[in-house]
C-alpha cells in the first residue's frame, strides 16, 4: 500500500477545491496540501482553440476524456469528472443569492434558515468575485447593496442586448448586465474576452474563469500536491475517536494497489453528488449509515432550482450572433412580500435566433434549395426572437435524496449514486401559481414591447444542484455547521454546493465559492 502523508487532504478537484487550496496556500503557506481528483488533468490550454473548432465542426466534446465511464450517477447534470470539474465548462454566471435565501423560515415560514448572517456571507461574495475576477455592475435594487465594487466593470452590452434591455424595461422591470467571471482584459495569466461565444463549452482565451488555471498556478510552484486519476473510495475512522485518520483510494493505472492518504484534516470538495456518495460509502460499524450521518441526513434535501423557459417575438431588429452567451438579469422577484403568495425567481433575457434559422422545407413540405432557402430564411428574420428564462425557488423535502444504487457498480464494486429530487409540500402546493406568475411576467415583458410569447417550456431537471450535506446549527437536523465542519467528526469538512440547505433562485456557483472561502478561514484557523 502506498502511503501519502499531508496536513490537509482535499478530495475533489472542482472550483471549490481550487478556491480552497488557493486560499489555504495563502493563509498557511507551510501547510502541506494534497488534492485528490478522480478524473484526469486537462491543462493543455494551448489546444483549447483546436478543441473548440472540433466541437463546433464535428460536435466533439471539447474536454477530451473528461469522464470516467463507470463512475456515473443517475440524476447527475454533467458527466464531467476531471481536474477543474464542471466549472471547466460553466457559463461563468456569477449572480449572488439574496438575504431571503438565508431567511426562508423566519421571513416566510418555509424550508429552513441558513446558519449564516447575510452581512457575513456578503463579505465572502466580495472575495469570491475578486478571486474569480467577476465583471459586473451594481444592482438597481437597494436591497442588493454591496460593500465592495466589482473588480471589473460590466461586460459591455452588445447592440442586441441594448435593444433588448430597452424593450424589457418597458415592462417596469429593471435589468442589468449579467455578472460573469469573464476577463475583459488579460488578467492573472488568462486572456481577455474576444467573444468566441462558447463560454459554456470552452473558452480558448481563458477569459472565462476555469479552475484548471488555478491548479496550474498551485502545482507548478508546488504549493500543493495534485493527485489526479485517483479515486478516493473510502474515509477511514480512527479506532477509538470520531476523527478521520485516512482516505483510501486507487489510481486508474494501478487498480489493485490501495493508496492511503493520512492527514490532519479531510475536506470533501466533491460537489453535490460525490460528496454525499463518499460519506455513505464510508459506513462502518460505528457509523453504519455512513460517516457524518448520525442525523440520517447525508444524501437528503438534495436541492436546486426549477426553470421555466419562453421565446418571445418582438418588433425590434436584432442581429443574432453578437454575444449569445451574455444576457440580462432582473432581480425584481428575488424579494417577495411576506403578505403575498410566495414566489421568487430571477428573470433572464438573451438574444436568440429561435424560429429564425435556415430550414430545409416550407411548412407545406416543399424542399428549399440554394437561393430559395436563403430567401425564405431572410424573410423570417424581420424583428427578433428573444429567449427568456426564470430560475424558480423550490424547496426540497427530506425525501429529495441521493442513495446508493446496488444495481449499478463501478469497476471496484462500489454502488453508484442515484439522485431523485422531490419538493416539500408547500412547494408542491404553490407550483401552479408559481408557473402562472412567471408566465405572467414573460407575457407582460413581451406585451410592453409590442411582442408576444410564442412558446414556453418547463425544465425537466433541477439546475445548479446542491444539498446532501446541509449545514445548520442543530446536529439533529443538519450534517455540518456553517463552515462545513461535520457535526460528527471534528477534522472532516464538506464544502460548497452540498452544504446548501436550499438552492436559491439564480445561478449557484458564486455562492458555492463564497461559502468555501468562508470555510477556508475556519480550516486555516482550526
Amino acid at each position: 500500500m502506498a502511503v501519502h502523508e499531508t496536513d490537509v487532504c482535499i478530495i475533489g478537484g472542482g472550483i471549490t477545491s481550487a478556491m480552497l487550496a488557493l486560499k489555504l496556500s495563502e493563509l498557511r503557506p507551510s501547510l502541506r496540501l494534497t488534492v485528490v481528483e478522480a478524473g484526469r488533468s486537462i491543462l493543455d490550454v494551448q489546444n483549447r482553440g483546436r478543441y473548440r473548432e472540433r466541437a463546433l465542426e464535428y460536435g466533439e466534446h471539447p474536454w477530451p476524456e473528461d469522464y470516467i465511464e463507470d463512475q456515473q450517477a443517475a440524476g447527475i447534470i454533467s458527466m464531467t469528472m476531471a481536474v477543474g470539474g464542471l466549472a471547466l465548462h460553466w457559463g461563468g454566471a456569477c449572480n449572488r443569492f439574496s438575504e431571503e435565501d438565508l431567511r426562508l423560515k423566519s421571513m416566510y415560514g418555509l424550508a429552513t434558515d441558513w446558519p449564516i448572517e447575510w452581512r457575513e456571507l456578503e463579505r465572502y461574495y466580495c472575495e469570491a468575485e475578486r478571486r474569480l475576477h467577476v465583471s459586473g455592475e451594481p444592482s438597481p435594487h437597494p436591497e442588493d447593496a454591496r460593500t465592495q465594487p466589482y473588480p471589473q466593470g460590466p461586460i459591455p452590452l452588445s447592440y442586441n442586448l441594448q435593444l433588448l434591455k430597452a424593450w424589457a424595461e418597458q415592462s417596469g422591470l429593471k435589468f442589468q448586465s449579467l455578472p460573469m467571471a469573464r476577463n475583459l482584459t488579460p488578467f492573472d495569466g488568462r486572456g481577455g474576452c474576444c467573444v468566441y461565444d462558447t463560454c459554456g463549452e470552452v473558452c480558448p482565451s481563458g477569459a472565462r474563469y476555469s479552475p484548471d488555471f488555478t491548479f496550474r498556478q498551485l502545482t507548478q510552484p508546488k504549493k500543493i500536491v495534485l493527485h489526479d486519476r485517483t479515486l478516493v473510495r473510502r474515509l477511514v475512522l480512527d479506532d477509538r475517536r470520531a476523527t478521520i485518520v485516512s482516505a483510501t483510494g486507487v489510481h486508474q493505472d494501478r487498480p489493485d494497489e490501495t493508496i492511503e492518504y493520512r492527514a490532519k484534516k479531510f475536506i470533501v470538495a466533491s460537489g453535490y453528488c460525490w460528496s454525499s456518495h463518499l460519506l455513505l460509502l464510508s459506513a462502518n460499524a460505528r457509523f453504519p449509515n455512513g460517516l457524518a450521518n448520525s442525523s440520517g441526513l447525508v444524501g437528503r434535501y438534495m436541492n436546486g432550482h426549477r426553470f421555466i423557459n419562453a421565446s418571445a417575438n418582438i418588433d425590434d431588429q436584432t442581429y443574432p450572433g453578437q454575444n449569445m452567451t451574455h444576457s440580462l438579469i432582473s432581480r425584481e422577484y428575488f424579494r417577495c412580500r411576506a403578505d403575498r403568495p410566495f414566489v421568487r425567481h430571477d428573470t433572464r433575457v438573451w438574444e436568440s435566433s429561435s424560429g429564425r434559422n435556415p430550414r430545409l422545407r416550407t411548412p407545406d413540405g416543399k424542399l428549399l434549395l440554394g437561393d430559395e432557402l436563403m430567401a425564405d430564411w431572410r424573410s423570417r428574420t424581420k424583428g427578433s426572437s428573444v429567449r427568456l428564462r426564470a430560475y424558480v425557488d423550490v424547496h426540497p423535502s427530506a425525501d429529495s435524496r441521493l442513495t446508493l444504487d446496488a444495481s449499478k457498480k463501478n469497476r471496484h464494486g462500489n454502488p453508484m449514486p442515484k439522485i431523485e429530487h422531490h419538493f416539500d409540500e408547500p412547494t408542491l402546493a404553490r407550483q401552479a401559481a408559481t408557473k402562472e406568475h412567471v408566465l405572467g411576467v414573460f407575457g407582460a415583458l413581451a406585451k410592453a414591447g409590442n411582442g408576444r410569447v410564442v412558446n414556453t417550456s418547463d425544465g425537466d431537471y433541477l439546475d445548479h444542484p446542491g444539498g446532501g450535506c446541509r449545514m445548520g446549527a442543530d446536529p439533529a437536523t443538519s450534517v455540518c455547521d456553517s463552515f462545513g465542519r461535520t457535526h460528527d467528526h471534528e477534522n472532516l469538512f464538506v464544502v460548497g454546493a452540498p452544504t446548501t440547505p436550499t438552492g436559491g433562485c439564480t445561478n449557484g456557483t458564486l455562492t458555492f465559492v463564497a461559502l468555501t472561502l468562508r470555510s477556508a478561514d475556519e480550516i486555516a484557523r482550526a
Binding site: R54, A55, L56, E57, Y58, G59, E60, H61, P62, P64, E65, Y67, E69, I76, I77, S78, M79, T80, I155, P156, L157, S158, Y159, Q162, L184, G192, C193, C194, V195, Y196, D197, T198, G200, E201, P204, S205, Y319, P320, G321, Q322, N323, M324, N357, P358, R359, L360, R361, L367, L369, G370, D371, L373, M374, W377, R378, T381, G459, D460, Y461, D463
Partner: protein, 189 residues
C-alpha cells in the same frame, strides 16, 4: 506440417483473421476526385447561386476538408441536464460516395448531366434522396445522413451564411474585440 493440416489451417484463416476490421480499413476515407467534381456541379443548385462563383467553390472545398477531418469513435458533447455518452460513428465518406453515385445515375436516367436537368427535376431527385436518407430538416451540422444535406448544413449553419442572410458583418463566434459587439453590425458591402 502435414499437407492436410496446412490446408485445414489455411481454410480456417477467414475465421480467425479480423476481416471485418480489414473491410473497415478498406473503406474509402476521402471523397474521390470524381465525387468532389460532382459536388461542385451540384453546389449552385443547393447553395445560394447569388454568391460569387469563388465563394461557391470555397464552400465545397471547406466541406471536403470537413470530410477529411472526420474522426471515428470520438466522444461527442455529453450534454447538460441529462448527459449521455455518445461517440462519433463511422466516417460518412463511403455513404457519401454511394449517394453521389446514386444521384449521378438518377440524373443520367433523366437524360444527362446534373447541370443539364431543369431545376424542378433536380429538386425532385434531391427530395427523393433526402426522404430515402431520412433527412427531414436542415441538420445542425453535417450528421452523415445525406451528403447534399450535409453540404448545405455546412454552409447555411456557418457564420458566413448568417452574415449573408442579415446583410451584416455579425461575425458570429469569430474572435473579435468585445467593443465591436456594442455597435450595430456594419452592413455587408
Amino acid at each position: 506440417m502435414k499437407r492436410r493440416t496446412l490446408i485445414q489451417w489455411i481454410a480456417a484463416l477467414p475465421a480467425v483473421l479480423p476481416f471485418a476490421r480489414l473491410r473497415v480499413f478498406a473503406q474509402p476515407r476521402e471523397l474521390t476526385p470524381e465525387a468532389v467534381a460532382f459536388l461542385h456541379e451540384i453546389a449552385p443548385t443547393v447553395l445560394p447561386a447569388s454568391i460569387a462563383a469563388a465563394q461557391l467553390r470555397t464552400a465545397v472545398e471547406k466541406f471536403v476538408v470537413w470530410t477529411r477531418g472526420y474522426r471515428e469513435g470520438v466522444a461527442l458533447a455529453h450534454g447538460y441536464g441529462h448527459p449521455r455518452l455518445q461517440k462519433s460513428g463511422a466516417s460518412p465518406v463511403p455513404v457519401y460516395l454511394a449517394q453521389l453515385s446514386s444521384l449521378e445515375a438518377d440524373a443520367r436516367a433523366r437524360g444527362g448531366r446534373w447541370s443539364a436537368l431543369d431545376p424542378e427535376a433536380r429538386r425532385a431527385l434531391l427530395d427523393a434522396a433526402f426522404v430515402k436518407a431520412g433527412v427531414r430538416n436542415l441538420p445542425p451540422r453535417p450528421l452523415g445522413q445525406h451528403v447534399v444535406a450535409d453540404l448545405m448544413a455546412h454552409f447555411f449553419r456557418s457564420s458566413e451564411a448568417n452574415d449573408l442572410c442579415y446583410h451584416a458583418a455579425i461575425n458570429r463566434e469569430v474572435c473579435r474585440p468585445i467593443q465591436i459587439t456594442t455597435r450595430r453590425p456594419a452592413p455587408m458591402s
